[in-house]
Amino acid sequence: MAQYIIKRLLYMIPTVIGISIVSFFVISLPPGDFVDRMVSERQQAGETITAEEEEGFRAIYGLDQPLPVQYFKWVSDVVLRGEFGYSFRWNRPVEELIWQRLALTFFLSLTTLAFIWIVAIPIGIYSAVRQYSLGDYVVTFLGFIGLATPSFLIALVLLYISFKYFGQSVGGLFSPQYIDAPWSIEKFLDLLSHLWIPMIILGTSGTASLIRTLRANLLDELRRPYVTTARTKGLPEYWLLIKYPLRHALNPFVSSLNHVFVGLVSGEAIVAIVLNLQTTGPLLLDALRTQDMYLAGSFILLLSLLTVIGTLFSDLLLAWVDPRIRFR
């Protein structure tokens, strides 16, 4: 076991290095660079930027260097000094930018995950136990609606509805008067009144796959001989359900935990953009579009590191939970 862990850890290193190189390359793939974006933005505001000034900007950000030089400068900063560089767009250290948004991102991801599990598990169980019934069809339909609707559209529609018909202040998680106020019941209620939109949108799109997996696995388990045995022994139906099949059916949840890690940090970028949520997703998207090299590169490095760690972690967890794997 220890050998297995060490081997996987060693594999991680070249993987992460490889990802950092590929990401840096991919970020710079679109034609032009950050200064082009910046100048374009200013031109839209009405400014005229001369060619000399553009060169000046490039010099300041080190963008007049060839790409490998830029990469090595960044990587050596990361590895030797643990610093991820400055963002061109925000002119601040990358860590500061990401750190500022992590709290909200974690909060949203965790509440969304809780919502998904709370909704998906009962529906999955019901669907497996009452297969092909009308109830099965109805709850499956509901569970899948979220998957089918484009999230950005629903987000904007819900935002508009909450503005027009509930008279709510839109954007972000709090109304203006509660943003800086200390915690209270009203502030909590205000939070809920804003939280329902992202939770429903992000939650419903995630429920479908979980329902499907849970149902399939549960169906498999329910046909096994031990269930029939238990039933003939006279165990009540629900006890029979929870004691063994459900636990086995939850195995895949464990293996999907690695996605949870990534989701925790990157959040759902598209929905966050529409809803004006200051999470890490929009920051990453923006960094990618403007080719903010260090911010985007560091972000992707962080994400891929988390993915790789997450995969390792969930594999280990799976091995621990399911002895059959350990003995392979």
């Binding site: 679109p30 032009g32 060619a51 601040r92 954007g171 529409v274």
Partner: protein, 652 residues
Amino acid sequence: MVVRRFFVVAVALLLLMTLAPATLLGQDTVVCEAYNEAPELAEQVAAGTLPPIEERLPVNPRVVEPAEEIGQYGGAFYDLYDGGRLAEFRQFGYENLVRWNPAGDEVVPNIAESWEISDDATTYTFHLREGLKWSDGELFTADDILFWWEHVETNEEIYPTGPYAYFVVGGEPATVTKIDDLTVEFKFSRPHGLFLQLLSAPYGVRVTQFAEHYLSQFSKKLNPDGVAEMMAADGATEYGPWWIGRVGSYGHDAEYNDPARPSLQPWIPTEPFRGKERFSFVRNPYYFKIDSACNQLPYINERVFSLATDPEVALLKTLDGEDSLSNDGISTPTNRAVFFDNLETGNYRFVDAISSNFQTMRMHMKFNHPDAVQAEILQNKDFRIGLSHALDRQTIIDTVYIGQGIPFQDGPRPESPLYNEQLSTQYLEYNVDLANQHLDMVLPEKDAEGFRLRPDGERFTFTVLANQDFRPEWIDILQFYERYWEEVGVDTTIFPASNDIWRTRKDEPDIDAFVWVGENALGYQPFLDNNTFTPEFGDGWQVWANENYGLGYGDLGGASAVEPPAPLKRQYELYTLLTQAVTLDEQVAIFKELLQISADEFYSIGLSLPAGEYFVVRNDVRNVPEPLIRGWYYPGPGPVNFETFFIDQSAS
């Protein structure tokens, strides 16, 4: 008899003498026995935490006449901020050395009380206001301007390519000298007739943004150890990016992020705002302006900013009344219907606006196309005339712009004294026969499908690039253009490009033309940009102009110089003469000659004059003049004196 006449004359003279100072010297000399201030400030004075008003205002405060009436103190002004540059919306505050008047036809004193210009326009001497103080109570003196010049503008680590173009003439930067504490001289090696107007543009604010007594600690030259320590604490390795992120000049979001940094603006920060979703700027107790009734400005207590990164969210917030004066990209003609439906709930009103833009969609040909055959066709005036006559502009205006705006070719707006009728109204007629006639002169041969052929026998293709994020309706409009032009045998292709890539696409050899808006054409703004009415997409010619006349351009895509035809050469020459002209009349005469050449040469094909523009203003905000002007060189609506706005508490 004689005695009586003498008496009358004497009285008249006496009256004249008493009235003269007020009338001859203008606004700045309203005589105040005592000043009034906001109640909150008066409390602080009474508590001893703030010096009395007479000590806070300069000896001659700037007197500003409100648009409607003398205002009341109090209230809050709400703003939306998109997470980027706080001072980008040119409605934040406008405290340059000099500024435009609200009508945009005259440069008036601001931080500078008065100035002299040498006869040859090489030397500008500015007199600062005695007793004018920064927001922390320290005096604003010539030292602050010198600090800016020596440690910021000419600092190569911050500006690697040297000072901003406004301060450079004939390739040489200005010489800035302190004459005394209240007098600064800018001396140029050649006449710089447009300097005052340029100083009134947004970048001109740099001059008065740097308080030496506070910012010298961030100068590497003056405080090397301190700076090294601060940089290490922030994890920065390069001075330039760190300074931009920590101190910042105009255009950087750091410029108002430090509450300890002294400012001259009417409202000042109380905390670092970066990363916050909501924050306030409060009244600057040392603000140097008063209204004509001796009240210290501003009337409004605070400006509250909310973060709205997405334009649709910003729109919803504006509909909700969370924005006292709408932002530029939000109150667009497209959104007017939404604003109209929510007038009651939002408690706001429409205020008409005039744009400084003269063209909704202006097509520029790639005159120096690398393919010589293509370049010759594009440079042929009959080709452009033919294309222009083939367009049914009115249908496009009716469909895309809901009937707003008239067909308009090119040139300064009709409201501008520089308006040229020929340039603006030529070739606008929708006449397919006329179009074919002109096109037959250039591309007479057609292939089996009716498309015109180039002189070398290949089918002529015309590819137009458009930035579809900037103005999505351009793609719709270009589809109309495509239909109209295909009817006269021109095989047209539209290439919509996203914001991220359109600039680099321009230089691809397949692109023959691109579209943009036409800007800076109200009042005398056309003087200030060397390229509004000369070919925008003639990269080779622009490089030539840069090499021979020192004229600066953006986006040259690595082209090499191509000698321009004689009329264009004359235009480059004229523009250089313009920058050296001293009086307004001279400038106008030169520019009119330049514009007439543009009319004769017909460089760009236009569509329509922008119309139907508006702002949305909350009903409790008063002293907002109508119409408001939008623009860049006239940083609209900044010049309308935000410090005189006030909140009518009863209408909130």
